[in-house]
């Protein structure tokens, strides 16, 4: 049940990112919508759920994107490895920690893409266009992440209640 819901949420986020956002003007081009999802799982959900979700989301993104196969899975895995224990070391309020980790994760993702493209094209210069993309993404992160945190908190709280209620009934 839980897995099915996560799959549906991942599919919805991927669909939003591949159909709605590319149709918007350049200034509205957003960041990888799955990053906040992965970060939320990394920080606030059990490790087993994290692993399941990176496999689903990473695999789907790799299949749909023109990026080299496995790069999204690689990025999401690194996000989990780097930040899984962040809550233990950084005593920040959940929304603040969430926002910081999302920003760092998006920078990591762009850095990995940039490195891949640099190696592929054998040019190591930071183009204005690339800097523009990253800047727009960061602006959108700062504008949207607090709302996304509230939405995720509500959705996952509701899922937990729903599943707990179902279990209680079955017992």
């Amino acid at each position: 049940m839980r897995l099915f819901i996560y799959f549906i949420i991942s599919a919805m986020l991927i669909s939003l990112q591949t159909t709605v956002i590319p149709a918007l003007p350049f200034l509205l081009s957003s960041y990888d919508m799955l990053i906040p999802f992965i970060v939320y799982f990394t920080l606030f959900r059990p490790a087993t759920e994290c692993l399941t979700i990176i496999i689903i989301a990473g695999f789907a993104m790799d299949m749909l994107s023109g990026a080299p196969a496995g790069i999204y899975l690689f990025i999401y895995t690194w996000i989990i490895l780097l930040f899984k224990r962040a809550k233990l070391y950084f005593h920040l309020r959940d929304p603040v920690l969430f926002q910081i980790v999302v920003v760092i994760s998006i920078l990591i993702e762009n850095m990995i893409f940039g490195l891949y493209i640099s190696f592929k094209t054998m040019s190591f210069e930071l183009s204005f266009h690339a800097a523009q993309i990253v800047l727009i993404q960061l602006i959108w992160v700062f504008l949207t992440i607090p709302f996304i945190f509230v939405i995720f908190d509500y959705i996952f709280g509701a899922i937990d209640k729903l599943i707990a209620g179902g279990l209680r009934k079955s017992l």
Binding site: I14, S15, Q17, T18, T19, P22, A23, S29, D32, M61, M63, L64, S65, G66, A67, N110, F113, G114, I117, K120, T121, S127, H129, A130, I133
Partner: protein, 279 residues
């Protein structure tokens, strides 16, 4: 008391007397006395008339602008609804007209083209802004296989990199990973069209001695084993000839507007030059 006859006579006399009185009054009005009387009457009565008229106007105003407006507001709501429906319908008609225009182009292309073309709809684009791919709604069950070229009437779009049963992923020519063996249509100068960072293309490996100018059309050469010969790719927008080096740097503006792609055509029989059998 009075007989009927007497009553009739008296009535007639009163009527005649009244007539005389009215005629006399008309005559008096023309005189200065009559004029003064009329002015006095106007002076005395007009304020009342004005007041009554103002009350009537006020009542009329209140009725027109308040009570009557309730029905006007209702009517307005109805009209707004109708306008909304009309705007929606108009928009739908515009969409149909535009779609019709686009599809007409595709049908013409299909009729004129020597290739077996399959139309497909673009359903999604790459999730990352760094890469340029798209997903189309035709797959292996429609005869789409890997490495089939994709085009629109304006020119080359890209080629199929992955095909599932109902969908396929297309790598666009503006992606950095894409390369198309191409040539200048005017003088057949060869080079390779490669994707650029900002949704444009470069025409690489064109020798410095070759005469290539801004506005030249670049077409596919057919030697890359994917794209058939002669498909339009783009026009030269910038040429940089450095003092040193073997090649010139050429920027290319693709003929296809990749941001507005909605439908594409897949070439199912690309008629690729068969290098093996020719050797």
């Amino acid at each position: 008391m009075f007989s009927k006859k007497t009553m009739v006579v008296a009535g007639a006399i009163i009527l005649i007397a009244l007539n005389v009185l009215v005629f006399s009054f008309t005559y008096i009005r023309k005189s200065s006395v009559g004029d003064a009387a009329a002015r006095a009457t106007l002076y005395l009565i007009s304020p009342f008339q004005t007041a009554v008229s103002a009350v009537i106007d006020f009542t009329d105003d209140v009725w027109e602008h308040y009570f009557f407006l309730i029905s006007v507001a209702r009517e307005n709501d109805e009209l707004k609804k109708k306008l909304g429906i009309a705007v929606k319908k108009n928009n739908e008609c515009n969409e149909i007209a535009l779609s019709n225009e686009r599809l007409r182009k595709y049908v013409n292309l299909k009729k004129q083209s020597p290739y077996n073309l399959l139309a497909a709809k673009v359903i999604a684009k790459d999730p990352a802004p760094w890469f340029k791919t798209m997903i189309i709604n035709k797959g292996t069950k429609d005869g789409v296989i890997k490495e089939l070229p994709v085009m629109v009437p304006e020119g080359v779009v890209g080629y199929v990199t992955t095909a599932s049963s109902g969908f396929a992923k297309v790598l666009l020519i503006i992606d950095r990973n894409s390369s198309v063996d191409a040539m200048v249509q005017r003088n057949r100068a060869r080079g390779v069209v490669q994707g650029d960072a900002q949704g444009l293309c470069r025409f690489d490996y064109a020798l410095r001695k070759l005469d290539i100018t801004v506005g030249d059309t670049i077409v596919s050469s057919g030697f890359d084993g994917i794209y058939p010969k002669g498909l339009r790719i783009g026009s030269v927008s910038k040429v940089i000839r450095r003092n040193s080096g073997l090649f010139q740097a050429i920027e290319l503006t693709p003929f296809v507007d990749f941001k507005k792609l909605e439908e594409v055509m897949i070439i199912l029989n690309p008629l690729i030059h068969d290098f093996v059998s020719n050797q």
